[in-house]
Structures are given as C-alpha cells and as structure tokens.
C-alpha cells in the first residue's frame, strides 16, 4: 500500500467515493467525492497529539470494537497516507465549535473544521472494480449463541485478538475473564452452504483460514487443545493439504459434524456443545473455553450502487458477474471494466492477486492501444424513422445509446459501448433500429424458409448464440434423441427476438414458436433477457386477446451445458405441436392477416407510446 501511495503514476484517492460514471470504454468520465477529513493530509505527520487530547472515546471499528479510539484518529497503523482524520459524527461539534482542543495542540495547524467535500472529475480509459466483500453476521443463527455468550467470537474477531497489532498485542485471551483459553473450537461453514439461512455458496476461504488459525494457535500456545467442527474440509489449493496435515500432526482434532446446540456454563462461562459426529454416528458433548465461528463472506452491501454506476450485472449470490466464466473471467460485461478480488466472488489472497494482475494487464492492453476493435454486431439507428421516444435507451443494458427526448434529438448508438444484444432493435416501436448481421431483412427470410413447406409440421425456435443454441449443439454432440421438427433461428441474444418475428411466424402458419435464451444469471448481455421475458409475457396477453392460445408461444432458459434440457424441451413441444389443429392454424392466419412489419406501420401517436419508469 505504501508503494502504491508513493508511486509517481498512481493517484490514490482515500476517504473518497465514486459519485458518478458516464461514457464508455476508453472515454469514461468519473466524478469522485473526496470527503472532508478535516485534517490536511499533506501536513499531518501523525504525531498523535490531537488524539491524546481529544476527550471523545468511541469503539474502534478496525479492532472490531475490542478497543477504543478518539474522535480524531488514524484508521489503522498502516494507513496511507499516514494522516489523521476527524470523525465529525463523534466530534463534540464544530458548528459552533464546542471543544476545539485538537486545533490548539496541533503544531502544524493542519486541522480545519471548515473543510468541505471536494468533487474531482477524472477521465479514464478503463476501470477496475476492487470493491471487496463484507462478512456474514452470525447473530441470526441463534443456536451458536453469538452475542449471547461472551466466549463465542467470529473468525474476524479472532484475527484481531491474535494479531500483534491487535488490541491485546497478540496475547490471545477469551473475553469473559481475559485468560488464555485452554480449549478452543472452530465451527466451519457459518453462513455458507445452507439452503435455509445464510448463503448457499461456499465462501472459499474459511476452511484454509481456520487451518491457518489452528497452526498459529499451536505455534503460540503448544498446550492448547483445538477442535474443528466441519461438514467438509476443502483444502484444494497448492500447499493447502500440507498445511492441513501439519495442523493434524500438531494435535488439532477435526470432527465431522456441526454443533446443533451450544450452552454456556453460567459459572465458568465455558461452552458446552452438542454435536453429532457423522463419522462415528455418535452424539458427543464437548466442553470448550472458547468458540470461533468461521463466518462466510458476503457481497458488499453497497453493491447496488456500484452495479448502477457501471451497468454491471450480478449472479444470484450477489457478486458481480464476469463477462464469461471461462474465457473472460476478469472482464465485466461492460467493456473497459474489469474485476479484482472478492467483488466478483469469494477468493483468497493468492487468487485475488492473480485476478488483480490479470485485470491490470487487461486494462494495460486497452490503454496502450490507440484504437480498439468494436463489435461487428452493433446496432445503427435510422434518424429519419427515430421519434426520440427513448425506449431503446431504457432497454439498452450497456447504456450505449444517447437520445435527447426533450430536444427531440434522435437516438444514436455509441458503437464502442454497444455489445450487440439487439434489445434496442426488438423494443423500438418504429423499426428505426438496424441490428447489423441480424437485421429484419435477414431474419424474416429465415422464417419464410422454415414455413415455406408444410408449416404445420415445424416448430420455429429462436435460440441465443451463447446458451440455448449451444445447448442444442450439446444435445447433438451427446447424440441425444429429439424430434427433428424444430427449426432454429440463431440470434446473439434472446433480447433480439422482436414480437414482430413471432407474430409473422404465426401469420405464416407456425403451430408453435419457442423463444429460448440464457438463464437469468448467465445472460451475456447483463439483463437483456429480462426484456425477452417481459416481451413474451405481453405477447401471451396479446395472443389471448386475439383468440390465439398463448400456449403456442413457449419460453425456455437453457444453458450451454443443458443438452438434456434442450432435448427434453423439444420433445415436450413436439407433443404440443401435434395437438395444434389445422383449423386453429387457419384461424390464426386469418386473425393475423392484416399484420405488417413495424417500420411499415403508421407512427403511433405520442400518447400511444408508454415508457416504463
């Protein structure tokens, strides 16, 4: 950190927040709020005279509340820059000045109660999101007694208590009597790998963290008895198994079973654990001086804000989603944005450093080139057809469209930011968007070709390039049997599937249309497939109003690995197709006989265009 602070080409903004991000790859504009710290960081030499005199004492967050700090303080001993900061919420007040003692003692005159937040505008070419993670709060798991029993602590609190820079200068004690415990237990997977409470995912780091902690304890206190209660031990990395062996050889006991209930002996403050040892099948009782809950990690609680600022997407777990899990693991779906560390998924120091190095290299490649290649598949907007309604702007997951609705300036696509999902094309009510390589003129003839002969025997399938089409491929490669009646039209994203394609297919005699795309968590275009779902839902209503059975329009999310699912869906839909009667198809064709493509329609009046908030 010190090196970063001193580096001539790195500008560090500490105690700052990103307020706004606009622009696109190579041309981002970032607004940073540098919060007032009320101490001139360039002048302060961290002499600590101010903190000595300050009468306000509050819990020290960095030491997990095990010690206290003053209202004017330094966040941690290694803070960069090494300068004090005034916590205005704790200070006795600056308006009017109620105390002012720190100002009086500061020789360098660097305390300024009138300091204001500053706004700094930056122009950057790439952004790396390294916003980290938060830690699971185990209070809701009442059976473990965290906050009820003095001697139950979390693994984060353990780190402070055993750290030489911690509140006890590394002298490990339990909280009830400040004695070094003779027996200590660790409970694994607290808040992780649970369907009911906490999170479903494995937090990745807790097993190794505990193993490391047991070795540390045995180093400091060879006579201490250490027990680890676990469901599975995951020591999968380089050298990890060796560390586990070392821990075992030093006498640490690993017991397969998570405590069901924990009681406190009110006299000794010891903890009594009931555990079913799943290796022996016996219910055991263990009495311990102290218990450490090995808590999982969770996505940062301000993730929504970062997501909005950078148009990112998140997995169901809440961590930021990478552009591709195997091929682009450090890129965000928004070009020019990269990830490092736990913002993307829980990971240990080594993996974080690996990912950070990869992200720095990816950003470096981008910044060192004068020009970048844009996607060949982007959209263009016909200014003559565009009414500046702004629907495409709202639909674009990448915010790659600029439009001025008030000034009636037609929409324009920023090609460098467009990822080519085609959602704008499907959503534009006026047919003003042309999606290069997936134009209406290319897709309508495919529908015509499918339905040219015996349309009643065909299923028109729209499949997205990344998932459902690959799912079909997977089914084929696995030699899975499914009916040959499905005819696939590939689009990059299901977001491109315009309602007019579906209505056209029905008007041409299609018995069934299937729209398929990636599962929500896998959408390669952030959230473009949410628009697909909205569109299909609206279309079900529309079909019903026209007397067409909505069942004839099917929707399915199929991943590239789900060949089985693809085959199953095709078999089910084939059964449905066989039940669509010729009379039904004829009726549909009649109902839709006056159908016209979007661009050919009259322009709806302004009042007819509704924009969703």
């Amino acid at each position: 950190m010190m090196d970063v602070g001193r580096h001539p080409r790195i500008k560090l903004f500490v105690y700052s927040e990103v307020e706004d991000v606009s622009g696109y790859v190579g041309n981002f504009k970032v607004k940073v709020r540098k919060k007032a710290r009320y101490v001139d960081e360039n002048e302060c030499n961290a002499c600590a005279e101010c903190a000595k005199i300050c009468p306000v004492v509050v819990p020290d967050e960095f030491q997990m509340g095990f010690s206290s700090r003053k209202a004017i303080y330094i966040q941690l001993p290694q803070a960069v820059p090494s300068a004090y900061v005034l916590d205005m919420n704790a200070c006795l007040g600056n308006n009017p000045i109620a105390c002012g003692k720190c100002v009086e003692v500061c020789d360098k005159k660097c305390i300024d109660y009138d300091m204001q937040d500053q706004f700094i505008d930056l122009e950057v070419g790439a952004i790396i999101v390294a916003s980290g993670m938060d830690v699971y709060d185990p209070t809701e798991l009442d059976e473990f007694g965290y906050t009820r029993f003095d001697n139950v602590i979390t693994s984060m609190e353990f780190e402070r208590l055993i750290c030489a820079g911690g509140p006890t200068t590394g002298h490990f004690i339990r909280l009830s009597d400040r004695e070094t415990p003779k027996t200590i237990g660790f409970v694994q997977c607290v808040g992780s790998r649970s369907e009911r409470r906490g999170n479903r995912y494995c937090s990745n780091i807790c097993c190794m963290n505990t193993i490391k902690d047991t070795v540390l304890l045995k180093d400091h206190y060879p006579d201490i008895e250490v027990k680890v209660f676990y469901m599975d031990l995951r020591a999968f990395g380089k050298g990890f198994e060796d560390l586990l062996r070392r821990s075992r050889s030093e006498g640490v006991k690993y017991i397969r079973g998570i405590p069901g209930e924990i009681y406190e002996d009110s006299k000794t403050k010891n903890l009594i654990l009931d555990v079913e040892n799943t290796t022996t099948g016996e219910v055991e009782k263990h009495e311990l001086d102290m218990l450490v809950l090995s808590v999982g990690v969770i996505p940062r609680q301000d993730g929504d804000l970062i997501q909005k600022l950078l148009t990112l997407s998140r997995t169901v777990d809440g961590f930021f989603m990478e552009s591709h899990p195997k091929l682009k693991p450090v890129d965000a779906p928004t070009r020019g944005v990269f990830f490092a560390g736990c913002s993307e998924s829980p990971k240990d120091v080594k993996d974080s450093v690996t990912q950070a190095s990869a992200s720095a290299s990816r950003a470096g490649i981008l910044l060192s080139s004068d020009r970048i290649k844009v996607e060949a598949i982007t959209s263009v907007i016909d200014k003559d057809k565009c009414t500046s309604c702004g629907i495409c702007y709202q639909a674009c997951p990448f915010k790659a469209i600029v439009v001025d609705r008030k000034a009636k300036i037609p929409a324009e696509v920023i090609e460098a930011a467009c990822a080519g999902c085609g959602t704008c094309g499907a959503e534009c009510p006026f047919g003003a968007v042309t999606m290069k390589h997936f134009t209406d003129e290319q897709i309508f003839p495919q529908i015509d070709a499918i339905l040219e002969e015996n349309p009643q025997d065909k299923i028109v399938v729209f499949a997205c390039n990344w998932c459902s089409y690959q799912g079909g491929d997977n089914a084929g490669m696995s030699r899975l049997q499914y009916p040959a009646t499905g005819r696939i039209i590939r689009t990059m994203c299901s977001g491109r599937v315009d309602e007019q394609f579906i209505l056209y297919a029905f008007s041409k005699g299609a018995p069934i249309v299937l729209v398929s795309g990636c599962h929500f968590a896998d959408c390669h275009y952030i959230d473009a497939n949410r628009w697909t779902q909205k569109r299909v839902e609206k279309l079900w209503d529309k079909l019903e109003r026209k007397g067409i059975r909505p069942e004839r329009l099917q929707l399915e999310w199929i991943s590239a690995a789900e060949g089985q699912k693809f085959a199953k869906v095709m078999r089910e839909i084939e059964e449905m197709r066989q039940k669509v009667t010729p009379e039904e198809i004829e009726h549909t064709k009649k109902v839709l006989s006056d159908w016209k493509p979007k661009g050919a329609k009259r322009r709806p009046k302004k009042a007819e265009v509704k924009i969703e908030a």
Binding site: P550, E551, E556
Partner: protein, 47 residues
C-alpha cells in the same frame, strides 16, 4: 411473508402460487411439475 400470485404453466397446464412482487423486475420462473419456464401469471379478472 412475501406476496404470492397465481401462475399457470403453459407447457403442462399446472396452476400454482409463487412469490410475486409487482415492483420487482421480471423473474426466472419454473413450473414445479414439469420444470418448464413458460410460466404465466394469471391476472385477476377486472370487474
């Protein structure tokens, strides 16, 4: 308790209840019987 709404599977015809928040955006829904994603919310008839 989260609000629930009635849904119908357009593949197998099964009707069921699922949590539903009118303010939340679209959700990936799966039929509990046939696992299809062609799940449609049954809107209440306007009086």
């Amino acid at each position: 308790m989260a609000e629930e709404a009635n849904f119908k599977c357009l593949r197998c015809g099964q009707e069921f209840k699922l949590p539903y928040d009118p303010k939340a955006g679209p959700q990936e829904r799966t039929c509990p019987k046939c696992r299809s994603n062609s799940v449609r919310r049954i809107k209440e008839q306007k009086k």
